[in-house]
């Protein structure tokens, strides 16, 4: 089984700085980590490898510092890594991001599984995984919560939907996006860390992939961020202390009034 896991580096804190001109993130402003939801993709791949054997390549597109997240994936047990970095990739939207990643994945030869995170905690679109499937012309299973069966030619998996779980059968090769429920991520091992430390990760740019600048980065992106604002949270909180019997009753009176004034009562009460 040959598995590719695309992972993204995201800022550690959720308070990141934005470049008002271009509407892109100023990445250096905060510490970069592996997108937390990608850890589940990595764990899923590692468990499959343990069961069926095979190889895992992790890939990221991002600035030079993003090599750090690839090393972390290696330390967890992935076999090799590819780092896509080029000025021309800057400002990519999800169309351009998935195009660039797919172009690199295609060069890897026969891939059985691509396992992506559900979404990145910064850009938060969840569009790159489905975009990859479309570019690679593979089937797509999103929101995968469990892999029930996996053979050389197909897999049976459950997807977590709004109303419940859907079971699907998918022919390989296939792109999966996974939700948190699928696995509990492991920590890097000491041995893994040593391996990662000594590993040189190939760095590929637009030329290496044979891509034209017009299709890449900001230039190749159909969407444009035109404005960034901080949302104004102007909630004036009514605080009522409810610490003994009578203040609890009073507090509940006030709460009921509040709910009634916002027409929030009596909806399902009759049930």
């Amino acid at each position: 089984m040959y598995i590719v896991v695309p992972i993204k580096q995201v800022p550690e804190t959720s308070n990141v700085q934005m470049d008002k001109e271009t509407g892109t993130m100023i990445r250096s402003a905060s510490e970069a980590i592996v997108n937390p939801l990608d850890l589940y993709a990595l764990e899923t791949a590692l468990q499959i490898k343990e069961r069926t054997g095979g190889r895992i390549t992790v890939i990221t597109m991002g600035p030079l510092g993003a090599a750090k997240v690839l090393k972390e994936a290696i330390a967890m047990g992935c076999d090799d890594a590819i780092h896509l970095s080029d000025r021309a990739f800057g400002g990519s939207d999800t169309w351009a991001t998935s195009y660039t990643l797919a172009s690199a994945i295609r060069k890897l030869g026969k891939v059985d599984l691509v396992i992506a995170g559900e979404r990145a905690t910064d850009g938060d679109t969840g569009q790159v995984g489905p975009g990859l499937a479309s570019w690679l012309d593979m089937g797509l299973v999103t929101y995968t919560s469990h892999i029930e069966e996996l053979t050389d030619t197909y897999l049976i998996a459950e997807r977590l939907l709004e109303e419940g779980y859907q079971k699907v059968k998918a022919t390989l090769p296939v792109v999966l996006t996974v939700v948190k429920e699928i696995a509990i991520p492991r920590l890097p091992t000491l041995k893994g860390k040593k391996r990662a430390m000594h590993m040189t990760i190939p760095l590929l740019g637009a030329k290496d992939l044979g891509l034209e600048n017009a299709d890449l980065g900001l230039l190749g992106s159909p969407t444009r961020v035109v404005k960034i604002e901080s949302p104004k949270i102007s909630r004036a909180c009514t605080v009522v202390k409810a610490t003994d019997d009578s203040s609890i009753q009073e507090g509940i009176d006030k709460l009921m009034l509040f709910l009634a004034s916002k027409e929030l009562l009596g909806k399902g009460v009759a049930k």
Binding site: W95, S145, V168, P231, K241, S247, L264
Partner: protein, 332 residues
């Protein structure tokens, strides 16, 4: 021209609420542009009445494609059919819901038809000078609002957060047409097949679509106590949510988790009980209309974003509150 299109969603042949919310969005945009509002329904054996109800809720044209393999969303097939329709009718805008369906199909489609896609929008408007769609969405854990355009590619596509807009009231005097589009066998794709379906705890309405969500956190202390949250949700006619700490302890299952690594929701009322309001939790509720907190700590972060807070012991407050809601329900 300049048609506004929406993708309606159905489950088991019944249209979902979010389909009507999208129509309300689309209607406003179409009226601004003085153009038509069309909606696409992909499904199997959907009742004429259902299709008509889309017209009564704002659509001018309903494109209906029927086939057994359209009953459930299969991304590859849905994207093929939509690519055909978009090629044939060249809409100006295509909106879908930011649900597991919309968030799978639209990005797959966007690549196939080479256009941009803005995710999980909470606000849509038309730019006066250009007629372009201005798409506003929260990103980075709700810390910023970004406005995004797709200036040079058509259609302009966006997924729209459920519950971020109200459906229009039914207007049975509205007229429109239902166009049945013939199925093309070439659209079939068997790479991914739906085998079966099981509902989560017999609970069919989702957190994302709920008007009221009552969430519990670590303050509940034990699994058994989490029943209080379920009862409160029940008596308010809402759904149960949970903080990550509550989910990690097994008090609620992952589909109930609200926050950065769980669900992002926009209910009318979010009631947080025994939840401190960590930034990662708040990321999931930034667009809730009203937030109420019940917490023993008056300095808890959740109070920073709440509209109303009861500060006290939840174990003393909840039984009283439940009793009160019980009697009010009886009086109704």
């Amino acid at each position: 021209m300049n048609e506004i299109w929406t993708l309606s969603e159905q489950h088991g042949g019944k249209l979902k609420d979010v389909s009507f919310e999208l129509l309300a969005r689309g209607r406003a945009l179409a009226d601004t542009l003085q153009s038509q509002l069309c909606t696409v329904v992909l499904g199997n054996k959907i009742d004429d009445k259902e299709l008509e109800s889309l017209i009564f809720h704002g659509a001018d044209t309903v494109f209906y494609v029927e086939n057994p393999c359209l009953g459930d969303m299969v991304c590859e097939i849905y994207a093929m059919v939509l690519a055909y329709l978009v090629g044939e009718y060249t809409p100006h805008v295509l909106l879908a819901a930011a649900t597991t369906t919309g968030r799978s199909v639209l990005p797959y489609l966007a690549v196939k038809i080479h256009t941009g896609l803005t995710a999980d929008c909470t606000d849509l408007a038309i730019e006066k000078e250009t007629g372009n769609l201005l798409q506003t969405r929260p990103a980075i854990g709700g810390n910023i609002m970004a406005t995004i355009k797709t200036p040079n590619h058509r259609p302009q596509m966006a997924t729209v957060r459920p519950k971020s807009y109200k459906a229009l009231a039914e207007d049975r005097s509205r007229s429109g047409k239902v166009v049945r589009v013939a199925w093309n066998p070439e659209w079939n794709d068997t790479r991914v097949q739906v085998l079966s379906y099981r509902e989560e705890c017999g609970n069919s309405s989702s957190l994302e679509e709920a008007d009221i969500v009552v969430s519990g956190g670590k303050g509940l202390k034990k699994r058994e106590n989490f029943r209080l949250i379920e009862e409160l949700a029940d008596s308010l006619g809402g759904q149960v949510g949970a903080s990550r700490d509550a989910v990690d302890r097994g008090w609620a299952s992952y589909p109930h988790q609200v926050g950065l690594s769980g669900k992002t929701i926009s209910p009318k009322l979010y009631l947080a009980v025994g939840i401190s309001g960590a930034v990662q939790h708040l990321a999931g509720i930034k667009t809730a209309e009203y937030i109420v907190a019940i917490n023993s700590d008056e300095h808890a972060n959740i109070l920073q974003v709440a509209d109303f807070a009861l500060v006290g012991d939840l174990f003393a407050i909840l039984p009283q509150l439940l009793r009160r809601l019980g009697t009010q329900g009886g009086e109704k």
